[in-house]
Symmetry: C2
Subunit: 344 residues, 2 copies
Amino acid sequence: MRNDNRRILLASRPTGRPTSANFRMVSAPIPTPGENEVLTRTLWLSLAPYMFWRMRPEKSYAPPVPLDGVMVGATVGRVVASRHPDFAPGDTVLGGGGWQDFAVQPGAALQKIDPTDGPPSLALNLLGGNGLTAYAGLLDIGRPQPGETVVVAAASGGVGSIVGQIARIKGARAVGIAGGAAKCAYVTGELGFDACLDHRAPDFPARLAEACPRGIDVYFENVGGAVWDAVFPLLNDFARVPVCGLIAQYTETGPPPGPDRLPGLMRAVLSKRLTLRGYISSDYAALRGEAMTALRGWLREGRLRYREDITEGLENAPEALIAMLDGRNFGKVLVRVSGDDAQE
Amino acid sequence: MRNDNRRILLASRPTGRPTSANFRMVSAPIPTPGENEVLTRTLWLSLAPYMFWRMRPEKSYAPPVPLDGVMVGATVGRVVASRHPDFAPGDTVLGGGGWQDFAVQPGAALQKIDPTDGPPSLALNLLGGNGLTAYAGLLDIGRPQPGETVVVAAASGGVGSIVGQIARIKGARAVGIAGGAAKCAYVTGELGFDACLDHRAPDFPARLAEACPRGIDVYFENVGGAVWDAVFPLLNDFARVPVCGLIAQYTETGPPPGPDRLPGLMRAVLSKRLTLRGYISSDYAALRGEAMTALRGWLREGRLRYREDITEGLENAPEALIAMLDGRNFGKVLVRVSGDDAQE
């Protein structure tokens, strides 16, 4: 049997930021599906910041990837062989195939992708985890009211770009934060945010304050670090802070030096009656149907735009993940593992 | 006109913990009510930790007491003269008369106390702000489920004692934290908490962990500081933290030295999907009716107990407040300003 299944394994755990030495590519036989299982060929692999945590030894909301285990990840694949009644060869499916050319997955863990929904990569973005993350965090935790100010970190990224557009649809003001002039121009020009600030500008805190003359009612937190520091003093009474990521803090290796800002945060939580709430999209499985219906509708009406940052070839996935953790991506990060028209 | 109205003023603002020098007692004429106003003689003055913040110059959720202004506070009073149609001399009313023998208050700011509700001081405790604070914070933010573990700081105090008893009524496990063996014995023996830990014990963090073998689902935060440090690592995924006070931090004068624990808190908010939410009882005016009905019912059924820590005489109110901020009270702190049977 030929070793035609390339797989990228976790070779070692990162200390600080990951490097390519943390990954290793191997070849393995194409696996065979057992009962109720499906063999898929990977078309698209989605990369996202949570993957850094899964590389680390600490327990987070999910166990770490074991050493020499295949890196985890959501994928869009084409069914090659099926021993599950709901799937047939040629179907396009959303699943968690990981960083490899072929995967055997339980049929129960797959969702068929409707070809009328548009490009299948949308299932890894607006019509998938990113869409649900944005919809649930903004609307269930953030609950923006018309006229309120919603500030979105990483506004040109997969989740942030959707959050700001939904905020606008709901009648709120959307103020984005992104890294660099090109991303900011995209966020206001293409995505329609009311303003976007470059967090690398030396006067970023002052500019953010100017862009939020009535303070901040909802801060969609997915970066942490210095962006949080600029946002925090602008939070209004009763502000809501959905926390779905802290990409700026992922590669910290220990607590930074003092002073200790924890007591000050707690004082503000009390005196401003803030709500801080962490979540991940899988906490909101019950909201998925409602979210997808709404997102599909807005997409068809042309009210949601998106941008994909595509890396060609599985072998380049490690560099793409590292670039994303450094903020060098521009849009939702996808790896094209094989061509969409490939048939087995 | 005789100066028969003793009033306690804010003489200076505290730096760090308040002292008696921050207060000054003066005598003033008994005021006369204008249209729609009511003159009350103060029977009971309620003391509570928020008063420290009102003495400070910083804006919190309410403006500071002005220098040489009468200290604010909730009171139970007897109506002496009324120019409001709903009130007549002899009525017992709940209001915000402040630290003085007599107060003129708008009738619209007063609530008549039902004599069948029990001692009128209950309107400053279980059947008033403390009751609403406990009910709203625990049930709207904490939302304990049967079998979950609810940890309550300042468990023998006005609010904490009610929180733990409601948690038990709702089928949760209540674990209290209090200062000293006598308070802990009261919290378990009299209030019926499942356990109570002395936060002054050197092995307090280990004992708290032992008392919460399944972790902590709800932490009712009203102290902050070292108690938070012991609770934090025990919080379960999806734990809820209503924040209604931070008495241990009130007298801090600046951020403590590092390391900076803010990034670690945010990481836990995300990975454990914690909810932290600050509130004060007046945010929950809409819940007052429901809360009072429930609390009255539980009180009549003998399911809620309470303890009052009574100081005799308005002149002793400053020392009583200072003692409370030092944790030297035992139960809800009240000042008896004049005898309940006093009539004008």
